[in-house]
Symmetry: C2
């Protein structure tokens, strides 16, 4: 597969909101996002993986200025959900690799994840789309990570 | 925000591969995707949420025909990773809502998740991109879910 990775973008204006141990049943996500939508919180990445023992964790990213508002909106709805807790993380960045012709993500993922391993950057969140793979990593060391990812894909400069 | 949701797509050819309890340290994801890339497994969605107690879970989707090959490739690398387990789920589908002008996902997410709650469809995985929100749900009841999501967004017909 002839994938051409066109660039690497770094978004430093993100904060991570983790909502843990919410009941893993229909309606939970709806109530959570009803509350966020009415609080006018701008949500970028939404990631949820499989739940266990009847509860699930959901993480989403918001602009740093919205993070407190997001936390308050989530806290208000946790009781209605029947449980759970919310944690904010401000010191993260989103690094994305953008490509064309990505029929499968495995080749680009393998190069990206190897470059991040070389940069000793721990991958906290992964999310993919047709043309992009995004990861959330620590802000500390992110500039190095971007440089190493560039070299790994043979690119010249950041699209920060 | 004036988001126009243009359609709902249902991909029934997906299987879910869950890799649980892998060490949450730089290099794990790289080794995993090295193995998948060399086994020529086509990977679509990749989702990882925050780890706990030093381990993390990662889920990805593959065409149903690739699921066995994916499982074998992952199993071979788990020892090198230092732990973890792999589980296959074949009876899932990916439902995606495609929109334009999605600066924030919270409004579209709230409508989508409410429609899925109405359809009694439990959301297993969530992943977003600039123009799309995708969820993995059970195959059973998916046709109903698509119909209810259509109505919720005022659309006429599926883009199946
Ligand atoms: C956790 C949450 O996504 C739940 N499974 C729901 O469907 O709303
Ligand atoms: C779990 C895995 O993503 C790990 N955090 C890594 O960086 O490779």
């Amino acid at each position: 597969e002839d994938v051409v990775v066109r660039g690497v973008a770094l978004d430093k204006n993100q904060a991570k909101v983790m909502v843990g141990n919410i009941p893993d049943k229909p309606g939970s996500a709806a109530k959570l996002f009803d509350a966020l939508a009415s609080a006018n919180v701008i949500v970028d990445m939404i990631v949820q993986n499989l739940g266990r023992n009847g509860v699930a964790n959901m993480t989403f990213t918001v602009p740093r200025d919205d993070s407190e508002r997001a936390r308050v909106a989530v806290e208000k709805v946790l009781e209605e959900l029947g449980g759970g807790e919310v944690t904010l993380f401000g010191d993260i960045v989103k690094l994305s690799v953008v490509g064309i012709g990505m029929r499968s993500h495995s080749g680009v993922a393998s190069t990206l994840f190897s470059a991040l391993a070389e940069a000793k950057s721990n991958i906290q969140i992964i999310s993919t789309s047709e043309i992009k793979i995004s990861v959330v990593i620590d802000e500390e060391g992110a500039a190095d990570a971007v440089r190493i990812v560039h070299t790994a894909f043979g690119l010249d400069k950041a699209e920060a």
